[in-house]
Symmetry: C3
Amino acid sequence: MKKFTSVSDVKNLQEIIKKALQIKENPHSETEKGKGKTIGLVFLNSSLRTRLSSQIAAQNLGLNVLTLNAAQEAWNLEFADGAVMNGDTVEHIKDAIEVLNQYCDIIAVRCFAGMKSKEDDVNESILSQFEQHAKVPVVSLESATRHPLQSLADCITIIENWKKDHKPKVVLTWAPHIKPIAQAVGNSFAEWMQEMDVDFVIANPEGYDLDKSFTKDTKVIHNQDEALKDADFIYVKNWSSFDEYAAMPEVKENWMLTREKLENTNAAKVMHCLPVRRNVELSDEVMDGENSIIYQQAKNRIFSAQTVFSEILDEINSK
Amino acid sequence: MKKFTSVSDVKNLQEIIKKALQIKENPHSETEKGKGKTIGLVFLNSSLRTRLSSQIAAQNLGLNVLTLNAAQEAWNLEFADGAVMNGDTVEHIKDAIEVLNQYCDIIAVRCFAGMKSKEDDVNESILSQFEQHAKVPVVSLESATRHPLQSLADCITIIENWKKDHKPKVVLTWAPHIKPIAQAVGNSFAEWMQEMDVDFVIANPEGYDLDKSFTKDTKVIHNQDEALKDADFIYVKNWSSFDEYAAMPEVKENWMLTREKLENTNAAKVMHCLPVRRNVELSDEVMDGENSIIYQQAKNRIFSAQTVFSEILDEINSK
Amino acid sequence: MKKFTSVSDVKNLQEIIKKALQIKENPHSETEKGKGKTIGLVFLNSSLRTRLSSQIAAQNLGLNVLTLNAAQEAWNLEFADGAVMNGDTVEHIKDAIEVLNQYCDIIAVRCFAGMKSKEDDVNESILSQFEQHAKVPVVSLESATRHPLQSLADCITIIENWKKDHKPKVVLTWAPHIKPIAQAVGNSFAEWMQEMDVDFVIANPEGYDLDKSFTKDTKVIHNQDEALKDADFIYVKNWSSFDEYAAMPEVKENWMLTREKLENTNAAKVMHCLPVRRNVELSDEVMDGENSIIYQQAKNRIFSAQTVFSEILDEINSK
């Protein structure tokens, strides 16, 4: 694997999931693979699971880990090409990346959507600079439009929880929130589900359709009850409007996932990428109930990251 | 040892101190014990000694260390059960803990008293959530009412500095400060001294008596001169009022420990957990004088932590 | 090497550069040298290259690394001797250092000029406390008046890029900036160049002469064109006025380094310590052009630090 910023970097998803499950069985089987090599984890945004799971994954592979909280530990970065840097920004992102090229064998970066300019976010104004200037493999720890390490963990979790011989019905359902949230997790989950052998539908209120370039021909239903019917997996996630970018059009129905809503499903397993707003996105009952596989999903973040780092190290070591 | 949040988690204090002194002699004698295991150090508050000594202790045992500055690197946590999370908090503490369960073999947490609600602090509103939800051993790096790793280091330091054959007189004396400080270090020191073979008294101004559930039948003296007489060890520490919670009732006498006050003692050794407000809590002369064993005490934080982590690893490895 | 805070700590500069180049050839040749030892990296200021390169250097030597962002992770430190600490400061720097003495085998510290009191900065009010109170070797990660790890990396980079048999002409040229910047990099580069076998001149506008105690008898030219003529290396760096301390006297000419200005040189290699304000200090064309050896210089920060840590470990291990 040469880099990892979307599902298109994965040649064979079934193989990757299989490898991740093997790593989960024996996470310390490759402790020499990363020896003498360094991964830089660059955080332009907050992180808990991604931060910790990436570190564990890297340590399990024997990698040296450099963590940089860019804004707090370094300084404000400039992102505009050709900028006359006579303002608040202290270093251009491309210079920071060129320095990371000198210091790291893998660069992993977390760079959320700014939620101000649709164009900037759609064009991945930050991640694209890493893709352009990095001379070592780049791993996305969530970018403006995608969260692929999360999506791979989601796939692993679905496979682990599905032993029946028919295709599971997987529903990605929008959930309420109190502020505008990026579409990255939703977009990404849609892309990955399209590569999985599942029946996938998306449920969201009108005005909240995700970017068509991610959802493609996935069925989008504007009625949550209808969408959840007979679901085997329900993925709960908020996102703000894509069309009216970053807006939060009024939603009259209550889309919070409750235990009552699970009754109409096929004893659906409930997923969420965390952090979750309890009793806003889903109820305590669902979060703490037996249908939730949310913590298992969080654990699989380790094996998602470790598999990706391991594949990338294979590529590096083969040179 | 199954967890470490107070002296009651220690079966045999003399044995633990003996082990700590052995570890101090040879800190690199157990570098394989923690191999392949991960300790999460979660800081909800600032830290210097605890942060560094815990990392050294963990590294000495071969543990992987994950450090999380929760507020800065992740986000605001919700602590109220059943909360409708439509405000500033982004993730519920119990979800964060459940995720730490997936990632760590030991969870260590620093969570100061909030100093606003006596009930919350007395009930250890944060630590209790860790004790309730953690499925791996929990270590307190200081909580609302106790600082047990400090107290164990204090015991080690007293034993190291006492070669005579009679019981030493140990005085915990209140000291001035400029803002309301928690009672945790004082409470905890009282609890541990009650388990030690020492004559222990507490000196504090009226209005500053510590919680009786910690001091029990320890003699509390409201006159510093009287208390310090013939002292072998003096532990200097400020705390705010427990009765009138977090208040700072006026104190007319000057309780700052000075060299003059040492004259009446048995050449007492002076202790403080640090950080110390020089020339407020104690004078430069005392801090920098030959009676001070304060830096030795700081050093013993390593061996206190290493002993506890080692004992907990024994328990984990025995399963 | 007993400590490393200026060029005067280096006995034989040619030998040190030679060693650094050997380490660059084989950075993993001494992975056991630091085993069981701990380096504390204390940041009182922001850092990107220094932070990352120091960590890599330490890891390459097998050292345990403790990183402390003092203000964010610990608290405000008091620097005044004899202070009555009844204000904002929580711990005296000398107590913090004494604790670091207990925890670390090497203490490395970054402490910028405060840019308020010329006297404090000239006297290295912070670093001097480390030099006074540290009982283990101290390494400067940049102080008020010097940046010696940068300067050593600069020397390595010049040697790597000079194969001709005559002395190269090295020009340190002032560059514009938007706010007052310390003189540390300029001072330090001057000191080190005086020890190198080069023709060294400094170019800066009137009012911006560096402290004579650093520049000594180095030729200072107030006309940039004249200074750059036939240059083999150009080091671009801003600094504020030393005479009128931290002021920014008006400069009428444009001192930004542009491609046009390179025409008059001997195809000069361009250097900068980074971070750089693009199109303020130098133009995009120069930064991204073939004359720039700036990223190579950044890479050499690893080997500069590793050489120094290695030399200090030799001293420690010889005891």
